[in-house]
Amino acid sequence: MKVNSFYLYAFFLFLLGFFTYFYNYWNPPKQFWDENYHIASAQKYIDRVAYMEPHPPLGKMLIALGEALLHPNEKIDKSGFDRTDYIKRFPKGMSFAGYRLFPALFAWLNVILFFLILKELVKDDLLAFFGSFLYLFDNAIITHSRAAMLESIQLFFVFGAIWWFVKKYEAQKSWKDYLILGLWSGFAIAVKANSAILLLLFALWVWRDIRQGIVIGVVSDAVAYVVAAGAIFFGVFYLHFALGQKMPSHKNYAISQEYKQIIKSGETANPAHFAVMMRDNLKYMSDYQKGVPRLNLCKKGENGSLFIGWPLGIKAINYRWERHGSNVQYIYLQGNPVTWMIGLIGVLLAIVLVVAVYIFKTPVKNQRVFGYITAFTFIYISYMIAVGQIPRVMYLYHYFLPLTISYILAVLVLYYLFEEEIRKRDRVVWGSIVAIAAAIVFAWWFYSPFSYYKPLTTQEFNKRIWFEYWQLRPVR
């Protein structure tokens, strides 16, 4: 029986993804970065305590679901989590296996989704396989995803939306296709608001349809998209309200008297009160964002960074460290320099190509691939411009979304430039692709102590400071 190479590659990636993203994800059994916030929020769902938060609720709901499914902390008193938004001290012996389950699981599944996206784009299983290494071996995404945080869950729905967008891009689409795109987008936005960039996928679909003369049905398509995205977004909020059946004891958030009355009467699941609760939540989200400090590069120990430096990896963040004699274990948000560099080159070449075609009228070799390059370049630039307008402090992981777009662009540009050779299995080109893939794996291994909390001496740490501007600093 001949096994389809697609399934073979997918299985192999799935296996590799298990080891890079999922294996041992519950270690270290110590909190880092925003887990103090997200676990406090997640526990409130488990204990049915109402709360408000700047991010939409889906990510924290899934974090809570992991804990509820695995319940590894049954004998531990976590009631204190309900009385704070930021857990200062976690109970001794607490396991993180539950809270981190879905972020790590989604991050693992993302390997396959990313492979599917590339497969749809280049229609070459082997190139999609090697292209997937860009996500599979990215130390920064790995580090951040193996924790009770939101970005890997967000990326799952973002990848889902991109996959569906690409899969149906050239096909004649019905309103049902728009509806499915709306569902993916709605889920992503229900995790983090910056997923709203996915609205561009919808716009690109409509734009393509209009250019092809398909005007009839645009309104119904738009309605299907908006209704689906809205249904998910508000549906998630409805669930959020329904689960918040007790008044929080430590803080009032922006809970109005009306909302208090709704909680008191046990009516939070009543759709009739949805508007009041939604209004209060939106007010809190807006007020919270206004209160987040701005980036202050003069502040000692500032972890935030300017969006313009993100493509270069500025700046790394020390999430957690622990000293053992002369060795120090780290959880450090530091990208794989090879994948990040390839992503950046992919973006730059894509911009050059698009400019060359539209301004200098360079002939297009492959209209289909060029169309995708233009679309993803547009999304990348749009995200960076949008994020540049945000006054609050932002961090390197806010670049994950455009980073993965840059990986897609890198594979597309490679395919655009060497399509013929790739199809003919030219040894020189494929030898180079394998050599690049091997470099990605090597760099992942070299930087893996930062992702997996492996001890390093100062000397070993210093070998990894390839660029001063990353601001990687060993603990002394």
Binding site: V428, V429, I433, A439, Q459, R476
Partner: protein, 198 residues
């Protein structure tokens, strides 16, 4: 290579060059940030002010690192080109130890720029020092070294403000010649003086 032959360049090799470039970049980056074990530096952070080379140190933190050159340029924080910033800003001392092999009897001119003070000893004999605080300034001394192995020990202290220590040496057959000879960073071997790797 004519323009015509450039146009005929097989673009597949562009990808080969790119792949090779990545590996060269990785190799170079690791090599450039891997220091040879030539100068052993013991750095002690003091919890109380240090204003003189012989001031008592109240150790708060102590660490040992290896460097290939005595090159910590002027700045606000101790920094080495291979390692970047080291986290030391004020009130610390550093002991630099290294061994050299001199192939024949010769004169060696030692030049130390420091902010603040330092003391240079060779085979436990004091050669030169600047014991107090000062801005980044030069001290110089020619010594005659007999053929064979010698141990160089430099004690450096930083009080407050700017800091830095950079050391050079130059070799000659006479004191005058040594003063005019080409200077090398302490840690970098030359044909007339070899630093021993540990």
């Amino acid at each position: 290579m004519s323009i015509g032959s450039f146009v005929r360049f097989d673009r597949r090799y562009g990808l080969v060059i790119f792949a090779l470039g990545i590996w060269i970049w990785i190799g170079y980056s690791i090599y450039a940030h891997t220091s040879k074990k030539i100068i052993k530096a013991t750095i002690i952070q003091s919890s109380k002010p240090v204003r003189h080379i012989d001031d008592r140190i109240y150790p708060q933190k102590k660490e040992t690192l290896w460097f290939d050159t005595l090159y910590f340029p002027k700045g606000n924080e101790l920094r080495h080109p291979k390692y970047g910033y080291l986290g030391y800003r004020q009130n610390f001392v550093a002991f630099f130890d290294t061994d050299i092999d001199v192939p024949k009897d010769e004169f060696v001119n030692f030049v130390i720029y420091s902010d603040d003070g330092f003391r240079l000893t060779i085979d436990k004999q004091k050669i030169m020092e600047y014991p107090k605080d000062r801005p980044f300034q030069k001290s110089e001394k020619v010594v005659r070294l007999a053929k064979g192995k010698h141990h160089i020990h430099i004690k450096y202290f930083q009080g407050y403000g700017q800091l830095g220590i950079v050391g050079y040496y130059a070799v000659g057959m006479s004191a005058k010649e040594a003063q005019k000879a080409r200077k090398y960073l302490i840690g970098k071997s030359s044909s007339d003086l070899k630093f021993l790797e540990h």
